[in-house]
């Protein structure tokens, strides 16, 4: 057991040895080492977060046919640090009659709900915080703390627009939790466990080949949970200025902003974990844990890039469209898909792997095709209903 095979354990043992050598109690030393591990993980995540600001700005610039930050440092790499200094030295304002305690704690809760997700993310086969046997549910639970932080921020700011923004955002998050939870059951069915590490370990075939529809639904629900376009109706600039975070300034706003970026990156990571094998890549993860970390970060970046691609390509939808899309389309499809997957999984239990993959893929294609056909016929009727009288009016005008 050397450093290159299991760096975390070696480092932890070394530190524990030093601490107990100072005459510290073993229990206290273990707690201290665990605490240092958490601190290290959070520090690394926050440093990644700083560069996510740069990545986001560079990518949006390319999508909008611009160059993006390019003045400070090579490729504008120093820009995020300048942004942070600006945020730190900005005046820290609190609105009149704001609920000070709730107002101040909301950005922290928002950041916390994102950081807590990384407790269950395995970075390498041997590097993970806790291997909870309910990892998939844990994602949803952390999301509900995020929901709470948004409603706290919106309400405590003592501003109509921030409350309306919070209402909209919470409506989106509460709605899209349902299809996300349903779709998270599909990797659970394949792996036979809700543990994140067990899900990764059982992906000898990436689950995206078994259930591409589930991967798509998870991505849509993740984008909605993030409140990014096309589901960014909570921050409709023309109506609400900025949504729930309208009254925040300086680093408190920075917490929401950085939390959102890290959340997007984290959901890219969960997408890769659930459907693209996490840290696994043709056995490369067994060579070295550092290679495994590089693989999972690369896959998370790809997921994050897709989230950005969607954000900067599609337009914002209205709240009624969002609700109809979720409750009349995405949720039923997700539930039907879970039932079909569970049924097929039982039917094909003893089948050879080629038959299993083909059967699963086929059942996904059929579910997707049937649901899209139903949507097409419904939307055709709806269009006739909406556009019908309009033509009559135009006729009469002539």
């Amino acid at each position: 057991m050397n450093f290159w095979n299991d760096p975390l354990k070696v480092a932890a043992d070394w530190l524990t040895g030093i601490f107990t050598g100072w005459g510290m109690n073993t229990v206290v030393a273990n707690v201290l080492v665990a605490f240092l591990g958490i601190l290290m993980l959070i520090t690394i995540l926050m440093v990644i977060d700083i560069f996510l600001v740069w990545i986001e700005r560079k990518v949006v610039a390319r999508f909008q046919d611009r160059i993006g930050p390019n003045r400070l440092g090579p490729f504008g790499l120093i820009q995020p640090f300048a942004d942070i200094i600006k945020l730190m030295i900005k005046e820290d304002t609190t609105p009149d009659h704001a609920d000070k305690f709730v107002y101040n704690i909301a950005p922290m809760l928002s950041m916390m709900s994102v950081l807590i997700l990384w407790a269950v993310v395995p970075l390498a086969p041997v590097m993970l915080g806790v291997d909870l046997n309910i990892g998939a549910l844990f994602i949803i639970a952390a999301g509900s703390i995020g929901t709470l932080s948004i409603i706290m921020a919106g309400w405590s700011s003592n501003n109509k627009f921030s409350v309306i923004g919070a209402f909209r955002q919470v409506a989106v998050m509460v709605s899209f939790e349902v299809p996300m939870l349903a779709v998270l059951l599909i990797p659970t069915i394949f792996a036979g466990s809700m543990g994140i590490n067990a899900i990764i370990q059982s992906q000898n075939i990436w689950f995206v080949w078994l259930s591409p529809l589930a991967a798509v639904i998870f991505m849509i629900a993740a984008i909605a949970e993030l409140g990014r376009a096309p589901f960014d109706l909570a921050e409709g600039e023309s109506e609400l200025v900025s949504g729930y975070n309208i009254e925040y300034s300086g680093m408190k706003f920075g917490m929401f902003y950085a939390g959102e970026l890290l959340h997007a990156f984290t959901f890219g990571g969960f997408w890769s974990i659930m459907f693209f094998g996490g840290y696994r890549f043709f056995g490369l993860e067994l060579v070295s844990p550092f290679l495994a970390i590089a693989i999972i970060l690369f896959k998370a970046m790809v997921g994050y890039w897709i989230i950005m691609w969607v954000k900067y390509t599609v337009m914002r939808i209205r709240i009624d469209q969002m609700l109809a899309f979720n409750w009349k389309f995405l949720t039923p499809v997700a539930f039907v898909l879970v039932m079909v997957t569970a049924l097929m999984n039982t039917l094909l239990r003893g089948a050879p792997s080629w038959l299993f993959i083909t059967g699963m893929l086929l059942s996904n294609v059929i579910v997707a095709w049937v649901s899209l056909e139903i949507v097409r016929s419904v939307s055709r009727k709806e269009r006739e209903r909406v556009e019908g009288p309009k033509q009559v009016v135009a006729e009469a005008h002539h």
Binding site: N133, F138, S144, I145, F167, V170, V174, M194
Partner: protein, 169 residues
């Protein structure tokens, strides 16, 4: 005292204090937020008891759904979120006696139970509580009938709510 006991005492005291704050603070939104703290404390107690599934479900259902619903209801129905009337009525002493009597009754009942002073047996390695729960809820020898009856009850409540809210054209 072990670390676990200290942790349990801290969590228990925080939970109790937040529970007390729920019924004593004037501002209804603050009461709802204190309720969230109470529910979170209960979730932590589940986690201490190695019931991770219940802890997470507690957070998802009670904080993620029910507490949010409370906050929405308060915001949408009240102009003034702060209560101005007296917080106790003239029967407060009857309520206090009932509460103390219930606590004392439960305490003595548990005290006479033989398992009260025993330490719990260690959980065997490889014990999967989630699997056991799933089996218990779906096997015919377990609790499949009560589980299904509860689902039908919730479905009936859902249909009833939709019927009441449905705008007949």
């Amino acid at each position: 005292m072990t670390g676990e006991q200290i942790f349990f005492l801290i969590v228990g005291i925080v939970t109790l204090i937040s529970g007390l704050m729920v019924v004593t603070v004037r501002n209804l939104i603050h009461a709802a937020l204190w309720l969230v703290a109470t529910l979170f404390g209960v979730a932590m107690i589940y986690a201490i008891l190695n019931a991770g599934f219940l802890a997470v479900v507690q957070v998802v259902v009670y904080i993620g759904a029910i507490a949010i619903l409370f906050i929405f209801a308060v915001m949408l129905t009240r102009r003034q979120a702060a209560e101005t009337g007296a917080s106790v009525n003239s029967n407060w002493w009857l309520g206090a006696i009932a509460a103390v009597a219930t606590f004392a009754g439960l305490f003595f009942l548990l005290k006479s139970w033989s398992g009260f002073s025993k330490t719990a047996a260690a959980i065997p390695s490889g014990f999967d509580a989630v699997n056991q729960l799933g089996d218990a809820l779906t096997s015919a020898n377990g609790y499949v009938l009560p589980f299904e009856v509860a689902s039908v009850l919730l479905l009936a409540a859902l249909v009833g709510a939709v019927y009441l809210a449905f705008n007949k054209k």
